[in-house]
Symmetry: C2
Subunit: 362 residues, 2 copies
C-alpha cells in the first residue's frame, strides 16, 4: 500500500471517510486487477465514476476516440504524465496537477486549450474513494480551466508495481490567430517577466514529505494559466515572443532552455525575484535554491521592452498575477547562458541542473 | 529489477547486448531519478534518444506543445496507457503496441491517424538499452503507420514503484469526410465481419509468461490497421456502420459493447470464428475461451448486408486481412446480448466478463 494513504493528519489533504461509493462499485472498495480489464468492472468505473465526473457529449459517445470539432486547422498538442507523491498536498493534488499541467503547456504555446485525454495507471489495492477524490479534482479543475476531458483509459498493475495512481493527460488546443510565440523567438532586449512568486509548488511538496511546519503553511501554486495568458495576449499579443511555465527544474531550467533555443543570453536581477518568506525559509533549511524549484501556476514571459509595463499591469490585475515582476532582460551577450546579478552586485552563472533536485514533484 | 529483463532466452525477444549508447548517455547505462528531472539528464534523453528516433518538424521545435496543421475542423482524439509484461514478446513489444494501439483506436473511429504523443513512466534502474529498443520499435511502427510522434514526456519513479517501462500514447486524426461510424450505429441485419484470426496477441503473451512451447510459435498480431481500414472505407465507406478493434476483453467484449451502445442483438456462428490451431491448443491448455482473448491487429466491422461480400474481398486482398471472415449478424432480437450458435447447433449467451482474464496484456 502506498505510504500516502496515511496522510490524513496533513493539513490540506482531504478526508476520504465521508465518501460513499455508488453501487455497484461498493462491492469493491479498492482497485482490483479486473478494473483494468476489458470487462464489466472496467465499464462500471467508466459509468459510475468517470462519466458522472467528466460528463460531456464527446465522452458520452464512449467510442474508441473522441470526435471533436475544433473549427480551425492549426492546433497545439501536448502530453504529461504525473507521478507526484503525496497524491494530495496543500493547495493541490495529482488530479489538479494533471489537468492544469497540460492546460498550461498548451496555453504557453499560444493555444486556447480545448480538450484533454486522461490515462490512469492504478495500483491494485488503491482505494476507490481516493480515485473518486482525484477524479473530482480533475473535473473541477477542467471546469475552472474551461476544458473538457473527452476520452480516457484505465490500466491496473499488480501491488508493488505502481504507487497508487499515476495519471497521463494529453491535450489539444486551437492556436490563436496572429500570435506567434515559441521557445526560439526570444530576442535581445526582451523584458523577462514572471507572473508571481517562485518555488511554492516544490516547497509545498517537500514540506509535506519532510513534515516541516512554518508559521504560515506553504501551499502549491497549482493553477490553470490560460485565463491569465489570454488577458495578456488579447491586448499585447504581438509583443509576446515566448512564454513558458517553469515547472520541473524551475526558473533556471526555463531560462536556460529558452536561451539555448533562441541563441541569446539571459540576465536576471536576483533581488527582484519574487519569493515568499516561508518558501525562502524552507529552501534555506533544506538546502534548495528557489530558482531550481518547480512551480505549477506561474508563467515566464519574454516581451518586447516597450510593452513590459502594459503586460505587468495586465498580470497584476489578475488574481493569479498579483505578484508579477520584471526580473531581467534578454541579452546578445553570453549566449546560451543564464547570468544572475546578486544582491551584492556580483554576477553568477546559473547553469541547468544535472538531474533531479526534487524527485516526483509533478 | 523487473523480471522481464532476463528474457533473452525467449524467441522473438531482441538481444540488447549489441546496443551501444551514444555519449553522453553512456555515463548512465541505466535510468536514474535525474532522467525524470527538469535538468540536463532529461534533456540528453530527448536529444540523444527521442529526437533521433522520432525526428519531425513539430517535435524538433521542443516547445511545451507540438504545433500541428490538421487542415480540417473535425478530429478524433484517443489515449491508451500500456503496461504489458513482458515488454518484448514474439511479434511485438510495448513500443509497437503503444503506437499501433492508439493508431487503431483512431482508425476505427473513422479518422485518418496523424499525430501521437508519447509519455514514459520509467523505473529507476531500467536499462537505457531497453528504452532505446522500445523507442526504435515506436519509431518504426509510427513510420509504418504513417503517423508522427510530435511531443512527449518522461517521468522516473523509484525502484519498486514501476515495472521497467510504462507508456502512454495519445493521438489525433482527421475524420474522413462522408464517413459516419460509431458504436451506436450498428443496425439489425448488419453483417459482422472480423479481419482475421482471434486470440493471437493474448495467447502469445501468455505463452511467453507460462513458458509454453507449441509446434509453431504463437506470435502477437500487433499491427496498425489504418491502411486496411482505409481500403474498406475508400470503396464501401457508406456501408460501414461501426468498427472496433477487439483488444482487452476480446471479441466478446467488443460485440457486447456495440450491442449495448446500438441497442441491438448480436448472433455469431461459433464454427465460423477464425482461430489458429496453435492458439486453440493454447486456449484449451490454459482454460481460456478465444472469444475473450485480446487481439492487437484485428478489427470487427458492422456493415450493411449487401456490401458484406465486397468488404470481405477488400479485406482478404490486404496482407492483414487474409483470414477475414463473416462471423454473424446483428439482430433485432435479444437486444443488448451476444448469442453464439455452437457447432452442435445450440445457442449460448456470451456475456461480458466481470474483470481481468489476462492481466497486463497491453
Amino acid at each position: 500500500m502506498p505510504e500516502n494513504l496515511e496522510l490524513d493528519a496533513v493539513p490540506g489533504v482531504p478526508d476520504f471517510s465521508g465518501w460513499s461509493c455508488p453501487l455497484p462499485l461498493a462491492d469493491y472498495p479498492n482497485i482490483v486487477m479486473g478494473h483494468g480489464g476489458g470487462g464489466r468492472l472496467g465499464n462500471e468505473l467508466v459509468e459510475h465514476l468517470f462519466l458522472p465526473a467528466f460528463r460531456n457529449a464527446a465522452l458520452e459517445n464512449l467510442g474508441d476516440a473522441a470526435v471533436l470539432d475544433l473549427g480551425a486547422g492549426r492546433i497545439a498538442m501536448s502530453t504529461d504524465s504525473f507521478v507526484v507523491q503525496p497524491l494530495f498536498f496543500p493547495g493541490g493534488s495529482i488530479g489538479a496537477l494533471a489537468v492544469n499541467g497540460t492546460v498550461n503547456d498548451l496555453a504557453v504555446s499560444g493555444a486556447v486549450p480545448k480538450f484533454l485525454t486522461a490515462g490512469f495507471i492504478l495500483e491494485e489495492g488503491f482505494p476507490l474513494s481516493q480515485l473518486a477524490a482525484i477524479v473530482q479534482e480533475m473535473a473541477s479543475s477542467a471546469a475552472a480551466a474551461g476544458v473538457q476531458i473527452v476520452t480516457g483509459d484505465t490500466k491496473v498493475v499488480e501491488r508493488g508495481h505502481g504507487d497508487g495512481c499515476y495519471i497521463n493527460t494529453a491535450g489539444v488546443g486551437v492556436l490563436r490567430e496572429g500570435i506567434s510565440v515559441g521557445p526560439h523567438r526570444a530576442q535581445p532586449g526582451d523584458a523577462i517577466l514572471v507572473s508571481g512568486t517562485l518555488g511554492d509548488h516544490g516547497m509545498a511538496i517537500m514540506s509535506v514529505r519532510e513534515g516541516l511546519e512554518f508559521e504560515s503553511q506553504i501551499r502549491s501554486d497549482c493553477a490553470a494559466l490560460n485565463g491569465l495568458i489570454a488577458n495578456v495576449l488579447d491586448v499585447c499579443g504581438q509583443a509576446v515572443h515566448a512564454m513558458r511555465d517553469p515547472t520541473r527544474g524551475g526558473l533556471a531550467s526555463t531560462l536556460n532552455e529558452i536561451a539555448q533555443a533562441s541563441d541569446v543570453g539571459m540576465m536576471i536581477d536576483e533581488p527582484s525575484l519574487p519569493v515568499r518568506p516561508e518558501v525562502q525559509s524552507a529552501c534555506e533549511l533544506l538546502g534548495f535554491d528557489p530558482v531550481y524549484v518547480a512551480n505549477e501556476g506561474k508563467v515566464v514571459f519574454f516581451v518586447a521592452p516597450e510593452a513590459a509595463g502594459d503586460v505587468l499591469a495586465i498580470l497584476r490585475a489578475h488574481p493569479l498575477g498579483r505578484d508579477a515582476a520584471r526580473i531581467g532582460t534578454v541579452t546578445a551577450e553570453h549566449k546560451r547562458m543564464l547570468v544572475a546579478r546578486t544582491a551584492m552586485g556580483a554576477n553568477r552563472v546559473i547553469s541547468i541542473q544535472i538531474g533531479e533536485q526534487l524527485p516526483r514533484i509533478c
